[in-house]
Amino acid sequence: MSVGAPATQSRLASLWRHPLASTAALTALVAVTPLFLTSSYHYRIAVLVLIFALACVGLNLLMGYAGQISLGHAGFMGIGAYAVAVGPTHLGLPSWLSLIAGAALSGLIAFIVGRPILRLKRHYLAVATLGFGLLIAIVLTNESEFTGGPDGMLVPRMTLFGWTARGTIVWYWVAGISFLVGARLALNLIESPTGRALRAIHDGEVAARVLGVDVARKKLAVFVVAAVYGSVAGSYFALFNGHITPDVAGFLRSIELVAMVVLGGMGSIVGSLVGAAVLVVLPQSLTFLHEYEHMVLGLIIIGIMIFLRQGIVPTLAAAIGGRRQ
């Protein structure tokens, strides 16, 4: 906080607080980034960042706004990923329809398991979501007739009206635009009465219930939404990679997603992109450490939780003087 420029600071702060600030900032970021991407490898990383950011936006609605933790969110990514692999290969469905079917299936499963799971609190919620995610990973590993087992399976490329999505630049725009749409929808949700109800649940469940919020229903709704986000991100991940293994639904993936959300900032949609960017780029730039990779990842997670658990974006926002997101 500098002392010299209160006028500039308040202007900056009011700009930051504008309802469309987040959307504008994200759009600009997605539009400008390609100027700095010089190789197909860079594009590849950028696509991965956007895909994980999409999953994080969904998870952030659940964690940052409704205050519920999920240690099994990669399970939904797994459903989406295997939908676009199994659908075209075994059922003859086009990829885009498989993607939608995967999202619908994820939403349905979330709807069914959500009510009993979300009744649980704290550690019990953590173990239930964790168990749920593991179950999905176990099924994907064991149903090898359909899924290729632990070795995974190839994913056919997506074709729309005779046009095939291939190449990292095309995927950059597919992922980028999907992320922006996802982020905008999430922001709309947050600003709706449902969003306010979710924040009330976060601050105190009993208090929210006393004020007339249908807590169970709101939590369930946001769980379903988060599952759909995760599933779509998983589908993109599979289509972009062209190959998929049960690791996509694994415990480590779920932990990474939670770490991304916390690092970027719980309750900050912009933060989801920042968190995903850091945790995708950092391991890539540490590949020279290869066999120390896990040690470093563990240290990074501990470090984030000790030093950065307020999240990067909320910390910066507080420094600028605005309190919005």
């Binding site: 799971i117 550690h123 179950l135 009993v206 000790i306 658990r309």
Partner: protein, 290 residues
């Protein structure tokens, strides 16, 4: 009949290990509200350090003691270097820290040791004892007997010593314990060390039966956690019962349903129990404050 007896034996053996892991969870949870996901790595360290000291020529009993000491050191370091600096009681943050620690320890073990499976010679040889048509390994009896001894020692220690009473006071109410002059920081650190020791012993005892490698900890931690949940977290009796129940359930479902899905069955049962009794079998319902 003989088949069922066989399933029961193997379930009991594995269940005992789950019970010990769950007991470790419970100790740490009671003193500090931390769910320690690195508990499985304590088990791994116990087995792996013993194996590698043994390979280096150290006599096995000595190697086992050294492994327990190393694991206690790791447990204390985890508390001092990762849990304490966080200064928070936010369960999400604490869970993530211990998960980070577990990933770190696994990565370190992979480098310090190797990625292969290892075994230890059983204490009383490997000739199975025949009981009613089923076979039981002498080592399984060693595991069971040691677990009983450990639980009794733990109970005596907690119930009969001043330090144990301080531990109970800390888990009942940390602030009140501190006001009564108990150094709760020391107690919490101690519970991490004790938990690590229990995990290491479990790891050493089970290695002759199930083998060990750098990554056995993850699934053990999850199952132990599940066992603690099943019994109702925070209850030591619940942890033991939950662990043994889980082991038996797994063994019988592996025998009667599908061995591929035995892990899945364990988690399904846990989900079912949580849905039906969200506080576990032995847990107490909590009243939420606004």
């Amino acid at each position: 009949m003989a088949e069922n007896l066989q399933f029961a034996f193997s379930g009991l053996t594995v269940g005992t290990v789950y019970a010990l892991v769950a007991l470790g969870f419970t100790l740490i949870y009671n003193s500090s509200d931390v769910i320690n996901f690195a508990q499985g790595e304590f088990v791994m360290l116990g087995g792996m350090v013993t194996v590698f000291l043994g390979l280096a020529g150290v006599p096995l009993p000595l190697a086992a003691l050294a492994a327990i000491a190393v694991t206690i050191g790791v447990g204390l370091a985890l508390h001092r270097l990762a849990i304490e600096p966080a200064r928070t009681d936010n369960p999400i943050v604490l869970i993530m820290i211990t998960i980070g620690a577990s990933i770190f320890l696994r990565g370190a073990a992979q480098i310090v040791f190797d990625k292969r499976f290892h075994s230890l010679p059983p204490v009383f040889g490997s000739d199975p004892i025949r009981v009613g048509g089923a076979a039981i390994l002498p080592q399984s009896l060693v595991v069971l007997a040691s677990a009983v001894v450990m639980v009794v020692l733990l109970w005596v220690f907690i119930d009969r010593t001043l330090f144990g009473k301080a531990l109970i006071a800390t888990s009942a109410n940390r602030l009140a314990a501190r006001l009564a002059g108990i150094d709760t920081r020391k107690i919490v650190g101690f519970s991490f060390g004790l938990s690590a020791a229990i995990g290491a012993v479990a790891g050493i005892l089970i290695t002759p039966i199930t083998l060990t490698s750098f990554d056995v900890g993850t699934l053990l931690a999850l199952k132990g956690f599940a066992a603690a949940m099943l019994g109702g977290i925070g209850s030591a009796a619940g942890a033991v019962v939950g662990g043994i129940l889980l082991g038996l359930l797994e063994a019988f479902s592996a025998g009667y349903i599908s061995s591929q899905y035995k892990d899945a069955v364990a988690f399904l049962v846990i989900l079912a129990v949580l849905f039906a009794m969200p506080q576990g079998l032995f847990g107490k319902a909590r009243v939420e404050r606004v």
